[in-house]
């Protein structure tokens, strides 16, 4: 079975599948990123996370992010998978692979992609910690916000 470049679902993430999916003879580098569930957050001892998403919109947003990355770093191939449901400490919630002819573009596109996921992907963490639970609310999602996009580019190229 071929691995789609973009996906969201409950299945455990396999980074090697993403790395294979972005492969190509013209690429000299693949840069990858795994986001993991951490056992602490804001002074709380985290037990586990439950991720929720508006899946059809999330896939549209992943397409948008891949398109933005191609526009900014032509020739880059991006794979982006996000997981939903209950995730235990140490499990991967997001996996990204960016393939490019030269390493600089791959590093930048990979960083850009995770920054944009955090800004505009319709996905939420429900944190269950020792003593309670809380929905984590981060960025106000606005894909047209040029300032946010510029900030993601700035971080990616720092």
């Amino acid at each position: 079975m071929t691995t789609p470049l973009l996906s969201i679902g409950a299945e455990p993430l396999r980074l090697d599948a993403l790395v294979s999916a972005v492969g190509g003879d013209g690429h000299g580098a693949v840069v990858s990123f795994l986001g993991l569930v951490r056992n602490h957050n804001a002074g709380r001892r985290v037990r586990y996370l439950e991720y929720e998403a508006y899946q059809p919109l999330a896939l549209n947003v992943f397409e948008r992010i891949a398109g933005e990355a191609r526009e900014r770093w032509p020739g880059v191939t991006l794979a982006l998978h996000h997981r939903v449901g209950r995730l235990e400490i140490g499990e991967a919630s997001v996996a990204i692979a960016a393939a490019s002819a030269h390493r600089a573009d791959g590093f930048a596109a990979c960083r850009y992609a995770i920054e944009r996921v955090k800004q505009i992907a319709p996905i939420w963490k429900h944190e269950f910690f020792e003593g309670g639970d809380v929905w984590i609310e981060g960025a106000i999602a606005d894909p047209e916000d040029r300032q946010a996009r510029a900030e993601a580019e700035r971080v990616a190229c720092a």
């Binding site: 059809p56 549209n60 996921v117 800004q119 505009i120 992907a121 939420w124 609310e137 960025a139 999602a141």
Partner: protein, 81 residues
């Protein structure tokens, strides 16, 4: 006309439902749908300035006019990754 409302994360918890059906007047915007919900669920008021919205799984502005059968989603600030 009738629209479907999708709610996520804390909004879903507040309303106690992931999906609602609501009747709105022809010409109503997303903002009108939101205002109706904010009257029903006062706790939604805290999200007045931070809510994002989508129509049929595409981001849309609050002044977007809704149509019969549309799926309107309200999204609190996101925390993926």
């Amino acid at each position: 006309m009738r629209v479907t409302v999708r709610l996520f994360a804390r909004l879903r918890d507040i309303a106690g439902a992931a999906e609602l059906a609501r009747d709105v007047a022809p010409g109503a915007t997303i903002a009108v749908v939101w205002a109706g919900l904010a009257r029903e669920y006062p706790e939604f008021g805290a999200y007045e300035r931070s809510i994002s919205s989508a129509v049929n799984a595409d981001y849309a502005r609050m002044d977007h006019e809704v149509r019969e059968g549309d799926e309107i989603a309200f999204l609190p600030p996101v925390s993926g990754g």
